[in-house]
């Protein structure tokens, strides 16, 4: 039996929406060997009853903008309690839709880093032009990274692609401001040399943001600051283009008729580029499974985040990372 601890507070939309996601997970026949511990306000959570859930009361919510210090000090928050439960009982995984900064701090400090790894990385699969997923890391656990840390992200990203997405011989690229070896920030240029001269297989060089999601890349390696810019810029442009598509179809009666004829393709497109279906970002490099669901998660995406946590636990990602880092 796997035990996943779920922080039910701190999301933008409240525990009601998250409870719907939990229900979807409980009803999915693929995950019958998982039980959940829900942490949050008892009166809100007890509307759900199942043999496979336990409720742990917590009255406080960690604010979205909480820093490391706040997160560690506020011991009555649902997030603190959830992470602590996992740590003290060696449970399988923890999932939260609350403050990203707080969650990273708590998970990193409580669960501790895997020996030999300098910095944890937040990793998330991105949708690509051709439909396949691109693993991008770090997308924001760090404000800055040195070359050695970026090199370790490459190792972890490769393992994630192989073990979680089951990609055979994944191709690795560094995100940079040019495709040439000599391009990049000082850290990226140094990381290029570290990776190139290592035994890590599949490294294909640097790539620009405009080509990174076209389909050649399986793992996109970046420092946390640039990775976060990359993530959010993609989200922004995808959202602008989606809005403009809606506007174009809502223009007048003719365009609305046009939509009736062509909507199937546009619905497929929406599905393909839907970030929410990827569920959550995974914190790699710590001694445990920690999944950060989007703060604005709807029921479906929270259910996806729970699935990600389940899968990570099932394949024992932590030990795979330990082996990988020691090998290199």
């Amino acid at each position: 039996m796997l035990t996943i601890v779920v922080d039910m507070m701190g999301s933008d939309k409240g525990s009601k929406v998250l409870l719907e996601g939990v229900k979807m997970f409980l009803n999915d026949t693929n995950f019958q060997d998982a039980e959940l511990i829900l942490v949050g306000k008892k009166e809100e959570l007890s509307v759900l009853s199942s043999e496979r859930i336990k409720i742990e009361n917590a009255e406080e919510v960690l604010p979205m903008e909480a820093g490391t210090f706040d997160a560690l000090r506020a011991k009555n928050t649902s997030m603190y309690k959830a992470v602590n439960l996992v740590k003290e009982n060696n449970y399988s995984a923890v999932v939260s839709a609350g403050s990203t900064g707080g969650f990273i701090s708590l998970a990193t400090i409580k669960m501790r880093m895997i020996e030999g790894i300098e910095r944890a990385a937040l990793v998330s699969p991105f949708p690509s032009r051709i439909g396949k997923q691109v693993v991008v890391l770090d997308i924001g656990a760090n404000n800055e990274n040195n070359a050695q840390q970026i090199y370790q992200f490459a190792i972890m990203g490769k393992i994630y692609a192989e073990e979680v997405l089951e990609v055979k011989k994944p191709s690795l690229y560094l995100l940079s401001n040019g495709a040439e070896e000599k391009k990049g920030s000082p850290e990226i240029k140094e990381a290029y040399q570290l990776i190139k001269n290592s035994s890590l297989e599949g490294f294909k060089g640097s790539i620009e943001g405009r080509d990174a999601l076209k389909g050649d890349v399986d793992v996109l390696v970046t420092d946390g600051y640039s990775g976060n810019i990359f993530l959010k810029t993609n989200e922004g442009m995808a959202s602008i283009m989606s809005d403009l598509i809606k506007e174009a179809f809502n223009r007048n009666i003719l365009s609305k008729i046009g939509y009736l004829f062509s909507n199937k393709g546009f619905k497929e497109m929406k599905k393909k580029m839907n970030y929410k279906s990827f569920g959550g970002a995974m914190l790699l490099g710590i001694n445990g499974v920690a999944v950060k669901a989007h703060g604005s998660s709807d029921a479906y995406s929270f259910y996806c985040a729970l699935k990600v946590a389940y899968r990570m636990s099932k394949i024992d990602i932590v030990n795979k990372l330990k082996e990988g880092v020691n090998r290199s």
Copy 2:
């Protein structure tokens, strides 16, 4: 009379396409007080004749991947000759569609920096959700920048928005990995304090890549490395979405009929988000007007780049920047 010197070589598409752009510019009644000096292979360029053009022969092309050293050493390239002509004769402006790195190096070293400015910045207007242009700088003249340099980019960006785009009281934001004051790379956090504590008006704080093009921002200030990631990531996602729209309409006979009904809105959308119509990126901070057209410029976008160079010269942007930097 304004004199704009044009490097006619080094673009991806050859001088023929650029010549078409030159023709459009010459025929535009708005710019009859400008003459052009075209630098490139005489036999290719002499197909065009006009009282307002002169041809300066150059046989060599600077390769796209050329570094600073190559650019400065290769004195027979059209780019070297073009920049040198401007410098020695104090002409109004220089335009090139060739190697970005080479052009920045040549322009910066030959024309020299404006006194008091530490680093030149490449600036380009971006299309936004609501149609208005967002000035983004630096989009790639630099691989890294310190806080003081980023602060100076804010000053230059504000002047550009006011003087070139004629925006009254432009709003300034720093591109960052969060909207809060404490977020950002170390350099961005420091730049935040410098700008906040300066007399620069219109500073509204930090903004994430996902919100930067929604319409609130007039000037988006960033270090050159992150700015380049931002630029290319936007281009990449816009191009992926455009491809997917085409696919959705080409799906079958029904969707093609749908396109007939709704194409007007989609054509408008394409126009709105067309980066090419913005013509070129301008190198701010040097003693002269230097416009870098896109390497893959078509005739129209090269014509736009010439227009940008004309406008910059006409309003005497260099002196406006000098005044602005000295005021702050």
